[in-house]
């Protein structure tokens, strides 16, 4: 009959409206989901919005957040040996590394990092640098709030990249 297609369409949207209210009733008392959830669950019905500042999604393990200079758990010192493998691996030349020989001979750390900048503004977040690092010094953090008001603040220097102590 002429109108059946239209009616079926209306039925679909009506089901969605009802589904959102049913879900509201289930989680009635609190308005925001407190515990962050990793990814969305396909079988869930009802409204889908993550109300951002109050509700947050937990990122997956491999999420490319902000670049991170790892610390050696025992010594708490940085692992980077300024070998510049990451600088060569980057398609955009976004990482600049400078190092010098360690003045005191007998310490295990042969090279010290004098300068290590990473320009988040031009970075592709492809992860080739992290894969190229043989000393497992570079890693991705889970932090995704990297926005800033001026472009220079996007250029991270070594201290900002260094993992916080005890993180």
């Amino acid at each position: 009959m002429l109108g059946t297609g239209l009616l079926k369409g209306l039925a679909v949207t009506f089901r969605h409206v009802v589904a959102t209210y049913v879900k509201d009733l289930k989680s009635f008392p609190r308005r925001y989901r407190k515990e962050p959830v990793a990814g969305q669950d396909p079988s869930l019905r009802g409204f889908f919005t993550v109300q951002y500042p109050e509700e947050r999604l937990r990122m997956f393990a491999r999420f490319h957040g902000c670049l991170l200079q790892a610390r050696d758990p025992e010594t708490g010192d940085y692992k980077c040996t300024a070998c510049r493998a990451c600088e060569r691996a980057c398609p955009h030349g976004v990482i600049v590394v400078e190092g010098e020989r360690n003045p005191d001979r007998e310490s295990k750390k042969k090279m010290l990092v004098t300068k290590f900048t990473w320009d988040a503004g031009r970075c592709l977040f492809c992860g080739l640098c992290v894969e190229a690092c043989n000393f497992d010094a570079l890693r991705w953090s889970q932090d995704y709030e990297l926005a800033s008001y001026d472009r220079d603040a996007l250029v991270y220097d070594f201290e900002r990249l260094l993992e916080k102590r005890g993180a």
Binding site: L2, L6, G9, L10, V12, H16, V17, A19, F47, F48
Partner: protein, 386 residues
């Protein structure tokens, strides 16, 4: 509960008796009129503001999102934020504008939209003036808005607005005729044009059961009349990205916005009055029943907007002239027969006749659709060969 039922009626008596104390008779009438107008306008503005909020909530829920819930508890202050924004925005006037028509258009679109409420009853004694040609008055006044749209489109001096304005006028005119026929079906049964008598003259059941075709046509035409849902061609045109109110800003745009929502509210009120039995309902007070029915029709309009794609210009016109108008005429003729035959069984004969008409109409459309002329939408045209 009788006091609650006739709340506004008693209120009127109370105030007029109190006023009679120190005002002459004409003074009391004048004061009563002033009070009703102010009350009605206040009610309307608040209703329209919360109509925008309701629409965004329903559209949100249809699309699995919560809708406005940030401004105030559950987003209830959102309409005030919207109105404040519109008022603060600067009403720029583009250069190539035909100033008189440009300025008059928003005024001319809101005035009739409000004027219509002089005759729309919300309860037994809740009607500003009960004139006996109320239905004619409503249809006539609401067609003034068509003129205002054209003035808006022409006044803005921009090619796309003109196109939008022309389309709006063509759409409004071609959907007023089937609307008139649908209303005619009801007037046939109730015998009077006054809205109050229409509601009281209706038999026990809502007329939508007896005249489903009339109800369907009225619903479609009311939606088309207020340029909404599948028919919102002139204003939110995805191709030309313009409409007749593109060049308006600030309060002027708010006027167009206000008029559109008031017209939606009027349309649903008319459908509720004529086809859903107005304020008659079992236990709840009359004006509550009336609001329930009006908001039900409004929900239907929001629902349409959230679900259906837009019709193309020629299909829009085709639907009205080739389908709704003939259907409306046939409906009036058949309802006239049924009404004069005084058949027993309440709405059953009307329902049966309507189903027969719909079946016949469906068949005619299917035959029409198969003929090659209609099938290909690409008429011959002198085409510049590559």
């Amino acid at each position: 509960m009788p006091f609650l039922n006739n709340l506004f009626g008693n209120l009127q008596d109370l105030i007029s008796s109190w006023l009679a104390g120190f005002l002459p008779q004409w003074g009391v009438d004048l004061a009563m009129m002033a009070i009703t107008t102010v009350a009605l306008l206040a009610f309307l503005v608040v209703v329209v503001m919360y109509l925008t909020y309701l629409e965004r909530k329903v559209l949100g829920r249809i699309a699995d999102r919560p809708g406005p819930n940030r401004v105030g508890p559950l987003g209830l202050f959102q309409p005030f934020a919207d109105v404040l924004k519109l008022i603060i925005k600067e009403a720029t006037t583009p250069q190539g504008v035909d100033y008189p028509t440009y300025i008059l258009a928003p005024i001319l679109i809101v005035a009739p939209a409000l004027l219509v409420y002089a005759v729309i009853p919300f309860g037994p004694r809740m009607v500003p003036t009960d004139i006996n040609v109320a239905l004619l008055f409503v249809v006539a006044i609401s067609s003034v808005a068509t003129l205002a749209l054209l003035m808006g489109g022409w006044g803005s001096g921009n090619k796309y607005s003109l196109l939008g304005g022309m389309r709006a006028v063509a759409q409004m005119i071609s959907y007023e005729l089937p609307l008139a026929f649908a209303f005619l079906g009801v007037v046939l049964v109730t015998g009077s044009l006054s809205l109050v008598k229409i509601v009281e003259g209706q038999p026990g059941y809502p007329l939508a059961l007896a005249q489903p075709i009339g109800f369907l046509i009225a619903l479609i035409c009311v939606v088309a009349e207020s340029n909404r849902a599948p028919f919102d061609l002139p204003e939110a045109e995805s191709e030309l990205v313009a409409g007749y109110h593109t060049e308006y800003g600030g309060v002027r745009f708010a006027m167009f916005f206000l008029a559109e929502y008031i017209e939606m509210f009027t349309g649903s009120a008319m459908v509720a009055l004529l086809f859903l039995g107005g304020w008659r309902g079992p236990i709840l007070p009359p004006y509550v029943w009336m609001l329930i029915k009006v908001y039900a029709v409004l929900f239907f309009m929001f629902w349409l907007r959230g679900t259906f794609p837009r019709l193309r210009v020629d299909q829009l016109m085709g639907l009205s002239w080739k389908f709704l108008l003939p259907l409306g005429m046939v409906n009036v003729i058949v309802m006239a027969f049924i009404d004069k035959l005084h058949l027993p069984g309440g709405f059953l004969p009307g329902l049966a006749a309507s189903i027969v008409i719909l079946a016949v109409a469906g068949g005619v459309v299917r035959i029409g659709r198969r003929s090659p002329a209609v099938r290909t939408a690409r008429p011959g045209l002198r085409v510049k060969e590559a």
